[in-house]
Amino acid sequence: MRGAAKACSGRGLLNNQSQITALSIHAAAIRRGGRVLFQGLDLALAAGEACALTGANGSGKTSLLRAVAGLVRLEAGEISFGGVDPAEARGDGLHLVGHADGLKAARTAREELTFWTRWCGGRTATVAAAAEALDLTALLDLEVRRLSAGQRRRVALARLLAAPRPLWLLDEPLSPLDARWREGFAVLMTRHLDDGGMILAAVHDPLPIAAKSLDIAG
């Protein structure tokens, strides 16, 4: 697996135009359904750093990730991407992998991975290497409906490698993965951080990599 992961390395992660090298969240508050989930939340992330978001169910971890991605509006506070225009940073600087993986059950893993890679500005040529890094090569021609939850998640995660972007927003990335792949994905995350990437992950179990942690009070 480590050998396979190498196939994707050395591609120069941050050579696309929108070089996000920092993420900072200042005094953020989010209100959902009339209830303030959290307020006064601060977080600073520099290139090469990861942060594990923890907190009880419903405390707003997913909402915070979606706010960073620009899908949810902050009630107060601001999110900046180290001087890069937020629209640009969100458009080509970050990946969001959540529970809903955007994969269509009736299409093959290859079609879906190729589409999302192209949609995220990656080249089709990188798809095979990314699939190999996540040990998906044998599964690519299966329809997504025939994959297990863990395999689906790996197809979703393969996008992170196939279309390199600096900031990964991961919503419980490890939950459907087995022990082997928790370890395998840790290797890929470490590699991403070594390349100067950033990871913000909502988790219940500790992240298997060196990471800051931020607890969202419920």
């Binding site: 949810v72 959540g98 809903a100 994969l103 009736a106 589409f115 999302w116 949609w119």
Partner: protein
């Protein structure tokens, strides 16, 4: 540009399979067109008189069929999040989704429309105009229908809601398209009805995506 081409290819492929795609739409269309003479009576003169209009009503109903899933599936499985996360404007994404919907169901229905109308007793020389109005009307149906599909995002039984929202928007193209056909059949000037149909379709293409994008943003946030 290549990513938009990839999106169009994907949307067309998905619309082709969505709710049975063109086969079901055309089958439904044929079903409605066969029911009409059973209800109205078999006299050829009477059927021939209503054939173009009946073909249009059936077209509007068949266009409704797969609309409900246009945004809903992407909304449920997270694809809409990922699509709206890109640097491409959401309006453009909505435009492409509707274009895919039209290619996969509107265009095949436009091919079926003259066949159904002639089977009901319309004169064969009407066929090219029926095809042209159905093609243009399909554009209007897809782009106004998208508004209803986007507005009903997140609602339970969204398909029914979509139909209720969308049917009033389907009225003008039915009037203009059916009117143009009636006028042509009666030897009257038909170009104004056809032009109005085109104007309505152009308006739907121009304004529909704005409304859809706003509705999607609202549903996502």
């Amino acid at each position: 540009m290549s990513r938009l081409a990839a999106l169009l290819a994907r949307e067309t492929a998905l619309a082709w399979g969505r709710g049975g795609g063109p086969l079901v739409a055309v089958g439904f269309y044929a079903g409605v067109a066969t029911l009409l003479p059973l209800a109205i009576g078999p006299e050829p003169e009477r059927l021939a008189a209503i054939a173009p209009g009946a073909a249009w009503v059936a077209l509007a109903l068949a266009s409704l069929l797969s609309l409900e899933r246009l945004f809903e599936r992407d909304y449920e499985d997270g694809a809409l999040d990922l699509l709206s996360l890109s640097s491409a404007p959401l309006e453009l994404i909505c435009f492409i989704k509707c274009l895919g919907q039209w290619l996969a169901t509107g265009a095949p229905l436009a091919l079926a429309a003259p066949v159904a109308a002639i089977a009901l007793g319309a004169r064969p020389e009407l066929a090219p105009l029926i095809f042209a109005t159905a093609l243009l009307g399909g554009v209007a149906f897809a782009f106004t229908g998208g508004i209803g599909a986007a507005l009903s995002l997140g609602a339970r039984r969204g398909g029914l809601l979509t139909a209720v929202i969308v049917l009033p928007l389907f009225v003008p193209p039915v009037i203009f398209g059916g009117g143009a056909l009636d006028a042509f059949a009666g030897g009257l000037p038909w170009r104004s009805g056809f032009a109005l149909l085109g104007a309505y379709a152009a308006m739907a293409v121009a304004l529909g995506p704005l409304a859809m994008a706003a509705a999607c943003r609202n549903a996502l946030s």
